[in-house]
C-alpha cells in the first residue's frame, strides 16, 4: 500500500490501537462507559460493513444493534484484547451470513421480494436532494453489485473486507479464520476480475475527489 493510501487508511481507522486496547480491557473489567466508547468508535464501521452486504439501511441498523449486543455479552470470551476489531468483524460477518441465509430461505417461499427491497434501499440510502447525486449513487451501487456478482464467495468477502472495510491482510485472516497466504490468493483473484471491470474503473475516476 502506498504512503498516501496508508495515511488514508489510518486516518479513518477508529481510534488508535492502544486506545482501543485500553477501552477493551476496561470494558472486560465491567466498565459500561468503556464499552459505550467502543460502540461510538466502531458503530459507523459496523453499520457500513453490514450495509455493503445487505444494501438496506434498516437491516443494517438492526443487525448492528444485534452485533454490538452479542459483543457486549461475549466480551469476556475475547482472549486477545488487541484483536477486538477483527473479533467484532467476525461477529458481524456471521450475523450477516445468518441474515442472508434467512432472507434466501424466505425468498424461496415467496415471502420476500428482493427487487422491492433493493429499490427501497436505494431510496433510503441517502436523502440527497440532487437528482444527479441520486443517480450517481444508484449507478455506483449497481456497478458494485455487478462486480460482486462476478466474484466467488471468498473473493467477494476478502475484497470487501480489504478495500471497503479497510481491514489489513492479518485482520482479514483472523476474521475469516484462513491463512494470510489464502487471503492474498483470493484477493489477487478478486483484483484480477476488478481490473477487467472498465465501467466501475471509469466511475471511480469520474467520482474521484
Amino acid at each position: 500500500m502506498s504512503q498516501t493510501a496508508q495515511k488514508q487508511y489510518h486516518a479513518r481507522a477508529p481510534g488508535t490501537g492502544s486506545q482501543v486496547t485500553s477501552l477493551v480491557k476496561e470494558a472486560r473489567a465491567g466498565s459500561r462507559t468503556a464499552f459505550e466508547q467502543l460502540v461510538d468508535l466502531f458503530q459507523g464501521d459496523i453499520f457500513r460493513m453490514v450495509f455493503y452486504r445487505t444494501r438496506s439501511a434498516m437491516d443494517a441498523e438492526d443487525l448492528a444493534q444485534d452485533i454490538f449486543m452479542q459483543a457486549f455479552k461475549n466480551l469476556s470470551g475475547l482472549k486477545a484484547v488487541d484483536r477486538f476489531r477483527s473479533w467484532l468483524f467476525s461477529i458481524a460477518l456471521n450475523r450477516v451470513r445468518d441474515f442472508n441465509r434467512k432472507k434466501r430461505f424466505r425468498a424461496l417461499f415467496g415471502a420476500f421480494d428482493d427487487s422491492d427491497e433493493v429499490a427501497q434501499s436505494y431510496a433510503e440510502t441517502n436523502d440527497h436532494p440532487e437528482a444527479l447525486g441520486n443517480l450517481m449513487i444508484k449507478d455506483f451501487w449497481k456497478q458494485i453489485g455487478l462486480l460482486l456478482d462476478k466474484l466467488s464467495r471468498m473473493e467477494r468477502e476478502v475484497f470487501l473486507l480489504r478495500f471497503m472495510d479497510h481491514l489489513s491482510i492479518k485482520e482479514i485472516s483472523q476474521v475469516l479464520g484462513k491463512s494470510e497466504s489464502t487471503v492474498k490468493t483470493h484477493l489477487y483473484r478478486a483484483l484480477q476480475k476488478f481490473k477487467r471491470e472498465y465501467s466501475i474503473l471509469q466511475l471511480l475516476q469520474e467520482g474521484a475527489p
Binding site: A5, F35, M136, W141, F163, M164, L201
Partner: protein, 184 residues
Amino acid sequence: MSSDKGLHLDEDQLLWAVVDEAELPPPLQGHLSTCPQCRAAKERFEQDLAHLGQMAQRFAPLPRKRVSLPVEKPRIPIGWSWDWRAYFGVAVTVALMIVIVWWSAPFRTTPEDSGDMLALEMREADRVMTEISMLVENALPPVYLDICGKSDPGLDEEFMQFIAPSIKNETVSYYSGKGGVVLC
C-alpha cells in the same frame, strides 16, 4: 510469478504488488522501488481502490439511531438487599400469624376443654356400644323385622300365647268347683 530484470512489471505482478509487495521476488521489489513508471502504475491502481472505499463510505447512509445497550441493573451486595424496615415488617407479620393461629378456636386446647372432650368421647363410645349390642341380638334391619312380625314390641310371644294358646301344649283347666283341679 516471473521476474524479468530490466523489464517493467506486468499486470499480474502489479496486482501482487498491490496485494502485498513482499510477495514479489526480491529483484522485482528492487525494480519497483526504483522504476517511477511501475511505481506510478501501482499507485494509480491503489488510488482507484482507495476511491472505491471512499465512495462507498460517502454513498452509504448514516445510522439514524445509536446502538443501545441493555439497561444496567444496580448491583446490590448479598445481605444488604433488604434494609431494617423490610426485616422488621417480616418479623411483625410472622409474630401476628403465630398469635392468630394460637388463639383461633379450632386449635386452642385448654385443660378444661380436654376434660369436656373426654366425657363427650365416652358418651359417644357408649352410644356406639349400645348400637353394637342391639345388632348382636338382632341384626335384621327394620323391614325384615316387620315381615317376620318382630318389629312391634307389644305383640311378643307371651302376649300371643295369651290370645291364642297353643294346641300342643298341655292345657290346664282350672275348675274352681267342688272337685278341685281336673286335668283335661
